[in-house]
Symmetry: C2
């Protein structure tokens, strides 16, 4: 079953863990969260939601009640620019999804895992997006696993390129060079993140949480 898209399910669970949401808003946040990497359509989202409901990991609340706290951060910001104050009252029969206890538990299990499944191409971005809900050790393991994976692939591509270089024209070559460079850049990015995480872990161990409040990646300067 092509893995029933662990990434989508994890993303949904992770988003719903912060606040209950309805489908439309969920999709917007999904595509903002995964930004330039992936985009899911309704044809993917709604079946996934159904499946999650059927498995008891999330539940629906028809006709969202205008509870100020939940709604205030959940549905205001969208049309903020044009309307500014409107749309406070009843929208229409939305279907709001919320995590169940089973769902929370499942999410914790997934976020605590750091196996190969966590650093493969499709899964890594989602896992990273929820690093704030992941403990430090797991974060480091995932980052290192990802780095190893990329390095391996780099090696494989370089080798296969060396065997076929003579038969390729300059543009194809340039395309491959650029691809390699992108991956190399990504490895350096991971290096920066790993270093930061290690420093943080050390700082926290020494109970010196003073020095590094924000900036998870120290915006690794990469010019030397």
């Amino acid at each position: 079953m092509r893995s029933r898209s662990v990434v989508l399910e994890t993303a949904i669970l992770g988003l719903l863990n912060s606040a209950p949401l309805h489908g439309y808003e969920l999709r917007k946040r999904l595509n903002l969260l995964l930004g330039s990497f992936r985009a899911f359509s309704y044809g993917t989202l709604y079946p996934a939601l159904k499946s999650l409901v059927a498995r008891g990991l999330i539940e629906t609340t028809e006709r969202e009640a205008p509870a100020p706290a939940a709604r205030a951060s959940g549905s205001r910001q969208a049309g903020a620019k044009s309307s500014g104050k409107a749309s406070l009252s009843g929208r229409r029969g939305r279907i709001v999804y919320r995590l169940t206890a089973d769902g929370k538990e499942h999410l914790q299990t997934v976020l605590a895992s750091s196996g190969p499944a966590a650093w493969e191409d499709e899964n890594f971005d989602v896992r990273f997006a929820f690093f704030a809900q992941t403990d430090a050790e797991t974060r480091i393991r995932i980052l290192e696993g990802r780095r190893t994976r990329l390095t391996e692939r780099l090696e494989a591509v370089r080798e296969s390129a060396a065997r076929t270089r003579e038969r390729l024209d300059e543009y194809t070559l340039e395309l491959q060079r650029h691809g390699l460079e992108q991956v190399e850049r990504e490895v350096r990015w991971l290096d920066g993140l790993i270093t930061t995480e290690r420093d943080r872990a050390l700082g926290r161990a020494r109970d010196h949480s003073a020095g590094v409040p924000g900036a998870p990646a120290q915006r690794n300067k990469e010019r030397g």
Copy 2:
């Protein structure tokens, strides 16, 4: 019909334009050509080949004849490391595909086009891979179109990020920052390519083809 994958068809046509190939070899070259960007499986390749045959753009030659010229570059290099000299004789009933006159014509039309379809995400890589078969003006138009497209998206993402920044944790932020940086890097890469192409066009116009024989992208140094 989700565009019947113009990219796959173009890639097939472009590869077959250099030499007739059979499915297995075609797939290998396809995934080498598009390398880190895309990978096609047989479940995609064979239906596409069928469709192309049905539309008369390519034709099949059952049981490839051991004509030295065509076969020498078409099927030798694969097991080159281990065998070295073997496998010269009859393989098995391969199905070799070859461009028809219609196919060549269609390919030329596609390669000469420089509309929006040429610089969208899915299509750009293939078009770039066949730049050697594309004339200089078209190359520049595609590169510039691609650059504009990326810049627009950059702007859109930045704007939407500015509106939602406060609600995101540091890791999500870092993920988006990294995504933006990748795209910015790509824009600079395009700038380098465009400059090179312009220089070349000038050099060729002055009939000074002496100075710049290889290196399409001057390996833009990007450190200052």
